[in-house]
Amino acid sequence: MLSLIPLLPFAGFLVNASMGRRLPKAASGGLASAVMVASFLVAVQQVWALAALPAGERALSQTVFTWIASGDFVIDLTFRLDPLSAVMILVITGIGSLIHIYSTAYMHEETGSEFARYFSYLNLFVFFMLLLVLGSNFLVMFVGWEGVGLCSYLLIGFYYTKKAAGDASKKAFIVNRIGDYAFILGTLLALVTFGTLDFQQIAGQVAAMPPEVTFGTFSLITLLLFIGATGKSAQIPLYTWLPDAMEGPTPVSALIHAATMVTAGVYMIGRNAVLFEAAPLTLTIVAVVGALTAIFAGTIAIAQNDIKRVLAYSTVSQLGYMFLAMGVGAFGAGIFHLFTHAFFKALLFLGSGAVIHALHHEQDIRHMGGLKAKLPVTYWTFLIGSIAIAGVPPLAGFFSKDEVLFYTFYNGHQLLWVVGVITSLLTATYMFRLVFLTFHGEYRGPQSAQGAQRAHGAHGAAAEHSGHSEHSVHDAPPAMAVVLILLAIGSAVVGFLGVPHALGGHNQFGEWLHPSFVAPAAHGMAEAASAADEASKIALERLLMAISVLVALAGIALAFGVWVRRPEIADRAAAQFPGVHRLLLNKYYVDEAYDAAVVQPIHRLSQDGLWRAMDVKVVDGAVNAAGQAVGGLSAVLRLVQTGSVRSYAASTFLGAVVILGYFLWR
């Protein structure tokens, strides 16, 4: 049954990849969506069965076959469903289904074969993503890990005639491979350390050993794995591919680059929580990198003008929160934020897709504005998503972000908590800047003098072609609107699954997940805390909660003040601090620095040093010189060339005997 969950999307992939171009669009899109919904239903049924088990024994597993067996190295293709993977498969198949449905409307302009190609990639992605979260060992996870990277590559480059799309897809794959290199090394080190790659067996072994105080093997394994995670989940220093990945179709950004694939790194840490907990040094690094990424990407998001890029940097920033949570040991909080983020970020991306769709491929928020009245469904749902991500109660983001920040403080990382709170201010500000510039104020698109002029610019081709004007702007078609509304409802309510004790809840979400983060033997052991401790903890949590709510509201007010009430402030600030503005607009020039420090030198070394100098001049030069020497000799030797193969063979043999004789009698 378990294997049916990934197999259904895989079957969809096979059909659309092999005969999709001959199917009508409704059939290929419908099939792709249907297998997703079916997979979701199976997932729900399986999770239901899982929930029926007692808390400590919640695990279902199925071994499909032995994949690789070489001596004592044996890898089974085994799926394991536990509370953590249960959350993941529900997100993947649930939100995945919605995005498939949305795509049937969003991609309607494509030709039949391109339409089928799109859905085959999307189904294949879901298959690999499910493999990633259901795999019971590192290698099966790695199959999914690389597989989703492949699909991400194929989908970012979906509009393959665009050079930017080709560049972005290649960059995504290669940057991810850098992370994968570390991930492979981490896996190998885990293998020689534990003699197995099975997650549960590793956790069992680690639990029996004391945590590492200094930097040891556990720390190295986890650090290497974490470097892998920084690639997949777009953290410093390997985050640069994600903003470029926005070249892909928008639903892809929602599914792969917001809700699911990019959270794989967070999931991986959660999956190995016991191992990471035994390596406190790595955990600290995870927390610091997460917090830094969160604030760093947040500052960039404020200065971006492309609606999808703002959301992309926002995703990088929110992923930073998740890593911060994992790093401070609040695994449940990290996964909770992953869960809520999947709803509101998918919503925001799909909302931006609706805007882009309505404006015929316009993505620059400087050419938007005033869309509130024309796109009411999009506006209201987008607003809900923005409130949710900003962390305003009682929407989903509030509960999860608050849990992250609280545990950051409570577990002794006050400085990182400050970083998190500042990021939360930034989050509210850039999101509402986006809301205000897109939906409020005056429409600044074509029809104005500025727009007509722009039609000849970079984005001009599409706009000119479709001749979009203010009048042709239309709200999301039904398939898209329904999805937006469903996700908006989700963004509003899923936070209630994890209401903290401080607000009188029971944090069912955290309790559900807890068994996944402890070693098999330690199931059911709850931390016993005294009532007094509990009371002071609750008081602290309430205080921190109040602070972050105020900060979120302040961020929204700031955005309102700057971009609605006094738009000139933003321009004046940009003019006053041109350096800062340019720095943010150009994303701290990180891409340029990487290019100058890594890409170009390697290219030059290979071209001029290794190939033209070493290979052609040194090695081949030596070979050719030897050849010429032989050539000179051969004028003499031509005398003994008889042209008979037999005499060649004889002389070869004779020569061999002579040389041999020298060695033996020497």
Partner: protein, 525 residues
């Protein structure tokens, strides 16, 4: 088991077909079709027979080490026998040869138009020699097949190649001859040594395995063998014949060269150099591994900057073959099994890449990357096939390249993790050069008008690339089908090696090598 001498039939059949072809009067090329048909038919029959070989092979650990054994005295005075037999390793390589030859012959339909008869005859002769190399259990017989292989390959490059074919053919010949002469000396020396110890001349591989070769001779013998094999692999810095040979060879020549011929080198290490001279091999293993990881990174970096697609793929072979040598140097079950697996996988993937590049150059008569661009719009099926083969080559899990590479890394990591840290960079770099080439050839706008009217895959091209893609997927999903038959042979080899310690050459051993070897022994416990 039937009494059929299946291995002899496998060697004789292509030779017979080649001989028959020589009687066909095809001076004006009027019977090209017939000639190609006979060649394809014979090679397909060989493939079917290799599958029969596999079906009759007993893969259990208790079965005989070598099966399908045939033995007849050939030159009794020197103890030279016509002695054939296969274990799981040679079985799979023979199947690979049988699989790739008809595919290579099919690619010739588009790329070879002159002297078709001679061409097909040479291809079949080459196939016979390759099977002979893999099946020989007599070292002298092995050497005969080994050198015989050079002749058809020399002509395939020199006659049917591109502009600089003569230079490439001679370079190929000189490089390989240099290695094989030294190997011949070592072979004769080995037999002579056997004579001094036992009073019997023999080239019987199994008897030679049992011979205890004194340390100072092992040193030289191993170097002679290893050099011949390193040139064939080709291992850095003996690799510069390969790019020229590949670029100038016609498509079918490249497919066979990359697909099977290069594996002779690594097969030789596994079958001869390591088990015959175990102490020397273990002593030199760190050196081999060092050259291997240099080849991995170096080959990939140089591949990255090639303007010619064939050269790019050729350098990528240098990189991938480095992985195979690394696995052999590790000399544990995962390392060697990974190496053999990677030999098969590389044969499929790189054979496929050369076939695909050949299809493009048949259409445009150029192999320069800059002459292409945007091909996806005009040939979506060829593009899809290219993606699959490219990903197999890059080592994406689920395709065949990953299994071999990962097993090699497991084996090497258990032996000495440092090499894997460097070798792993190949994982990144292979993605760089492959994806970059893919982008420049297939993505973007069409930049050359000539490309706009090019046809997609023809039926014959489907027959070439379809089986390769299918094999890339099958080998990635169910690798055990291929790992199982070779496991007993690999285990035997590793156990044979484990009885020996790295030798010490009169105190001249650099201490670094011993340090590297010491943890290796522990890791094998």
């Amino acid at each position: 088991m039937t009494g059929l001498p299946l291995l002899s039939i496998l060697i004789a059949l292509p030779l017979l077909a080649a001989g028959l072809l020589l009687f066909v009067d095809n001076r004006d090329g009027a019977r090209d079709g017939l000639v190609r048909g006979v060649g394809l038919g014979a090679s397909l029959l060989v493939f079917v027979l290799t599958l029969g070989l596999w079906a009759g092979f007993d893969p259990s650990a208790t079965a005989a080490e070598f099966q399908f054994v045939e033995r007849h005295a050939w030159i009794p005075a020197f103890g030279i026998d016509y002695y054939l037999g296969i274990d799981g390793i040679s079985l799979l390589l023979i199947v690979l040869t049988g699989f790739l030859t008809p595919i290579a012959l099919l690619t010739a339909w588009e790329s070879v138009h002159m002297k078709v008869k001679e061409f097909v005859a040479f291809m079949l002769a080459l196939e016979a020699a390759m099977i002979g190399v893999f099946a020989s259990l007599d070292v002298f017989l092995f050497y005969v097949f080994w050198d015989f292989m050079l002749i058809p390959m020399y002509f395939l490059i020199g006659v049917w190649g591109y502009e600089r074919r003569i230079y490439a053919a001679i370079k190929f010949m000189l490089y390989t001859m240099a290695g094989s002469v030294l190997m011949l000396i070592a072979i004769i020396g080995l037999s002579w040594l056997h004579y001094t110890v036992t009073g019997e001349y023999t080239f019987d591989l199994l008897k030679l395995y049992a011979l205890e070769v004194p340390a100072h001779l092992q040193y030289w013998f191993f170097l002679a063998f290893a050099l011949a094999f390193a040139i064939k692999v080709p291992l850095f810095p003996f690799h510069t014949w390969l790019p020229d040979a590949h670029v100038e060879a016609p498509t079918p020549g490249s497919v066979i060269l990359a697909g099977v011929l290069l594996k002779m080198g690594t097969y030789g290490l596994i079958r001869f150099a390591f088990p015959l001279f175990p102490e020397a091999a273990l002593y030199f293993a760190p050196l081999l591994a060092t050259l291997a990881v240099i080849a991995i990174v170096y080959g990939a970096l140089v591949a990255m900057v090639q303007p010619d697609m064939k050269k790019l793929v050729a350098y990528s072979s240098v990189s991938h073959m480095g992985f195979i040598v690394l696995g052999i140097a590790a000399m544990n079950v995962q390392g060697v099994q990974g190496a053999v697996y990677q030999m098969l996988a590389h044969g499929v993937a790189t054979g496929g890449l050369f076939a695909l590049v050949g299809m493009l150059s048949d259409r445009r008569h150029t192999r320069l990357i800059s002459e292409f661009g945007g091909l996806k719009a005009v040939m979506p099926r060829l593009t899809a096939a290219f993606v699959i083969i490219m990903l197999a080559s890059v080592g994406l899990p689920g395709l065949n390249g990953f299994v071999g590479e990962f097993l090699i890394m497991v084996g090497a990591f258990r032996w000495a993790p440092g090499y894997v840290v460097v070798a792993g960079l190949g994982v990144i770099l292979s993605a760089v050069y492959m994806l970059w080439m893919f982008q420049r050839v297939f993505l973007g706008e069409i930049t050359h008008e000539e490309n706009r009217s090019q046809p997609d895959l023809t039926v014959r091209e489907w027959a070439v690339i379809g089986p390769l893609c299918a094999m890339a997927i099958v080998m990635g999903v169910v690798p055990n089908v291929f790992l199982k038959p070779m496991e007993p042979a690999v285990t035997r080899l590793v156990e044979r090696m484990e009885r020996h310690q790295p030798m010490r050459v009169e105190g001249t051993a650099p201490p670094r090598l011993e340090v590297a070897a010491a943890p290796a022994r522990e890791a094998r416990e």
